[in-house]
Subunit: 275 residues, 2 copies
């Protein structure tokens, strides 16, 4: 029997097959102890309903996904976006998630300035810190793959996340989420994971498929791609991370089409052989 | 009239519309002085025929694209791949291209080790240097976008290209090709372009589309996307680059479907307004 005590399955992994209650029951059925919830799903089932459901069924939370997109060059738009992140932090607190996954936002087409977008994202995080502290939810800065830099996240490397953490000086409330899919290609990754150390508050796993066909929704099951996931796991654990191994697979052409029980069975097998 | 004296249009920009003779005639018709040739096209028309054609029509070469894929974990395969690069260097010399664009190769699925793939790529370049010197063609290390790291190029950043150049200590014959599309997202790009300095022997331009739909063949025309191309141009020029501005647009859903004269007209307009 695989040891599932550190397994978390992100709700997005069964995004298209399951309602939130169906998803939670599937976790319970397979003795999966933890999840990270997907905000759209939580909102459609209701925050209070979801909070009660996971508490009643004994499912722990490793994160709440996501809030962010604070890089607008328009000050009013940026302020509105930060308010939306505050609501996401409130929801994360309600479902008892330890952290909110922070997705920085892309380049504003009105100025095409990636440097300015990065500066605005950092300012946005700084502005959100008091609220995060007040609700007791960490802001998990998640570097995302450079291929979604233009529209989703100008935070493209762990090195940059470390630089932001250095500047923010708020180690109690701002951490870093390391996602194998987003960072595996980075020549600096070993050094930057070591530098991040206890900042790492979330570790996401999935694989890179050789025949990737979509920039966002074609991730692979661990073992089906080119990433040496065990090596990255050792790196984050050596750096001090001892939290959940969170399986997060966006997969429109494969895993989202499969029976939920089959998907979870394969995840548990691969946890033994490919993580 | 736009100043086209530094304009090079890469053959791949009209890959699907034009044979090599049609392509060269289109350049002549629009007074475009320079191109970078695409190896598959050159081979199908013949190396000697192509060399004669560009010489007769007065078209200069800014590069020859491409050779590489030397990262196999199998020693015999890697040796065969390096021999193939030597042939590409010979062809580059025959058409009088100053450099061969070097595409490192991806991760070998047999070992899934990106560190080993990088080490083998660097060894491969070192092994090719004597032949490159003997034919007088520079090896242009081209960092490619991390989204094609798995299968095409483990050389993912200018920082890594600089590190390789430091190790190779062969500044006369190994340079760096900077491609806006591949590097624009990189938080370290300004510092690494400055560090590269005169190593930069090739500068490729195209734009990143907000709705990118393919990992390789969906590049945008300058001005249609999110990249601040003028800023990157200033960076390479400040670093000492004064060569051609090489337009390289792989575009299956748009520019490859258009009339060649229209494509070249738009390129010349954008050279004024968006480069």
């Amino acid at each position: 029997m695989p040891d599932v005590s550190r397994l978390s399955i992100h709700q997005v992994t069964l995004l298209e097959q399951c309602s939130t209650p169906q998803f939670v029951e599937a976790l319970v059925r397979h003795a999966v102890p933890c999840t990270s919830l997907w905000r759209d799903k939580v909102q459609s089932y209701g925050v209070e309903n979801t909070a009660k459901l996971v508490a009643d069924r004994g499912i722990a939370l490793s994160g709440y996904c996501w809030g962010g997109l604070v890089t607008s060059a328009d000050r009013a738009e940026a302020a509105t976006a930060r308010d939306e992140v505050r609501r996401a932090l409130d929801e994360a607190a309600a479902v008892k998630a330890p952290c909110l996954i922070f997705v920085a936002g892309g380049v504003d087409p009105r100025d095409k300035s990636i440097a300015d977008a990065r500066a605005r994202a950092l300012d946005g995080v700084a502005d959100l810190i008091p609220h995060a502290r007040s609700v007791g939810v960490k802001i998990a800065l998640e570097p995302l793959h450079p291929m979604i830099c233009a529209t989703r996240s100008v935070l493209s490397t762990v090195r940059l996340a470390n630089a932001w953490c250095d500047q923010l000086a708020a180690e109690d409330i701002v951490g870093i989420a390391v996602d194998t899919y987003a960072v595996w290609w980075d020549p600096e990754i070993d050094a930057e994971i070591a530098r991040a150390g206890k900042r790492i508050c979330s570790f996401h796993i999935s694989d890179w498929l050789a025949d990737t066909q979509d920039l966002r929704f074609d991730r692979g099951m661990m073992g089906d791609g080119l990433i040496d996931i065990p090596r990255l796991r050792r790196a984050v654990e050596t750096a001090g991370y001892d939290g959940y191994l969170e399986v997060e697979i966006f997969s429109r052409r494969n895993w989202w089409k499969r029976d939920p029980d089959d998907v979870i069975r394969v995840i548990k097998e691969r946890l033994e052989t490919a993580v």
